[in-house]
């Protein structure tokens, strides 16, 4: 956390302080405000993030720019520190909750302003499993990266996935599981897709705490994603490859 705290201390010491040492977000210039929002995201301060988003929008920032530069930029630092063992699950969840607050403001505006769309994903936790923390993080970060996400929620049978693929025609199917007892169900879904001859129509990404790369390969997924940031990068890479193939 040391790295992120420096900025807040710097701001507090130098010039942007109220008498009670509070940082007044609206008094910061754009660059300082974005830096401060990184800190606030890191500390899971939802109200401050919502305020920061509104200030940037008020200054004429496009919603997509607020999303990518302030929110996704901040969550990328959170994700990196989680991967490096500096932050733990509770802190990541608080940060995610803060980002969710900002996203709630931006989402309708993004739709109105026609932000770029990288691809579309259908995602859900598999049958027998009610855990959705990882899935929700992936959904949020995918949306932040410009993907349209259709979230099927928890406890999804193969029929639910197939119906959504048919109805939504996404580029990507994402499946999540937290339990070693439920993760084999991903293979059931993929095998059914193979039987129906639709497996290669989609990029299939899988994730969840007990999974690993070997499991992902064994069940016939395109990739195992160990966290939300990797999921975004993998999805972008596969979508780019797919679009290149289609244009070739």
């Amino acid at each position: 956390m040391g790295e992120r705290k420096k900025n807040a201390l710097f701001l507090a010491k130098d010039s942007f302080m109220a008498e009670d040492d509070e940082i007044i977000l609206s008094e910061l210039n754009d660059e300082e405000l974005v830096e401060q929002m990184f800190d606030d995201l890191y500390d899971g301060l939802k109200e401050e993030i919502e305020e920061g988003v509104n200030i940037l929008l008020g200054r004429g920032w496009a919603p997509y720019r607020v999303l990518t530069e302030a929110l996704v930029g901040g969550m990328t630092i959170v994700g990196k520190d989680f991967r490096d063992g500096i932050l733990f699950v509770p802190e990541v969840l608080l940060a995610a909750n803060a980002m969710k607050g900002g996203m709630a403001i931006l989402k309708p505006l993004l739709a109105e302003t026609g932000a770029p769309r990288v691809g579309k994903m259908v995602i859900g936790t598999v049958k027998g499993d009610i855990h959705d923390i990882g899935k929700n993080l992936v959904s949020m970060m995918m949306e932040g990266a410009g993907f349209e996400v259709v979230d099927l929620g928890i406890n999804n049978a193969v029929e639910a996935y197939l119906e959504a693929l048919e109805a939504e025609k996404p580029d990507i199917l994402g499946m999540s599981a937290l339990l070693t007892t439920t993760m084999p169900y991903m293979k059931t879904v993929i095998d059914t897709m193979v039987e129906m001859g639709i497996r290669d129509d989609y990029i299939v990404l899988v994730g969840g705490a007990p999974l690993n790369e070997e499991f992902g390969k064994a069940i016939g997924a395109d990739a195992y994603c160990r966290d939300a940031a990797v999921a975004v990068e993998t999805a972008k890479e596969f979508c780019a490859r797919r679009h290149n193939q289609m244009n070739a």
């Binding site: 969840l93 909750n97 009610i130 855990h131 070693t180």
Partner: protein, 209 residues
């Protein structure tokens, strides 16, 4: 008599002790129950070694820890038995035990073999959270603090929003522990159910060890 205080079982485990010819390498969360079964049945041929129970929260570390314990002590014993179920290792522990030529306990988790694996699986409960005697006593160390709920109670919904019931699988009849488990359910906002299991398939597995 080894020190069976819960904090030691959680953080450090127990080194092997006794003069038996069979070593039981167990999760620290099962120490009380195994010691009770040894005493009840006169199983002096079983020596007990426990790995730190907190590995329960890091299942990716269980297999290596079990393999190291078995390899370190197997030369001193006629046989080694692993008192773990799969415990979130995703089949890795089973594969490692097979490679080592040692037996382990069938089932996904300790609460499943306490109830009986078949009966547990038949229930098909997906919205239940389980506690055993040990986990009820160590609820804060295993659940509340590692999930940050002591510092950030607002995360409760994110963690347990889809759960409905806390099922306390009781190995013993202990009204105080039942009250503690019920209090855990209340803290989590879940309905409470107590099922007396006794030692279940832990007893039959150790009888054959």
């Amino acid at each position: 008599m080894p020190d069976l205080s819960d904090n030691i079982l959680t953080e450090r485990g127990l080194p092997p002790s006794g003069a038996g010819r069979v070593l039981v390498v167990a999760c620290g969360a099962l120490a009380h129950e195994i010691v009770a079964l040894k005493s009840l049945n006169g199983w002096d041929h079983l020596d007990l070694q426990c790995l730190p129970a907190i590995l329960h929260n890091h299942p990716e570390k269980i297999t290596d820890a079990v393999v190291a314990a078995v390899e370190e002590h197997r030369a001193d014993y006629a046989r080694v038995f692993v008192a773990y179920a799969d415990c979130g290792t995703g089949g890795y522990l089973e594969a490692a035990c097979k490679k080592l030529g040692v037996e382990m306990i069938r089932g996904p988790h300790c609460y499943a073999f306490f109830e009986g694996v078949d009966a547990f699986e038949q229930r098909g409960e997906i919205t239940s959270f389980y506690l055993t005697d040990f986990l009820a006593r160590q609820f804060d160390a295993f659940v509340w603090k590692p999930l940050g709920l002591d510092r950030h109670p607002q995360l409760l919904e994110m963690y347990f929003g889809h759960y409905e019931t806390l099922v306390y699988m009781a190995q013993t009849d202990d009204p105080a522990l039942t009250a503690k488990a019920e209090a855990c359910a209340e803290r989590m906002g879940l309905t409470f159910e107590r099922r007396f299991t006794g030692y279940g398939e832990l007893a039959t597995a150790l009888a054959n060890a």
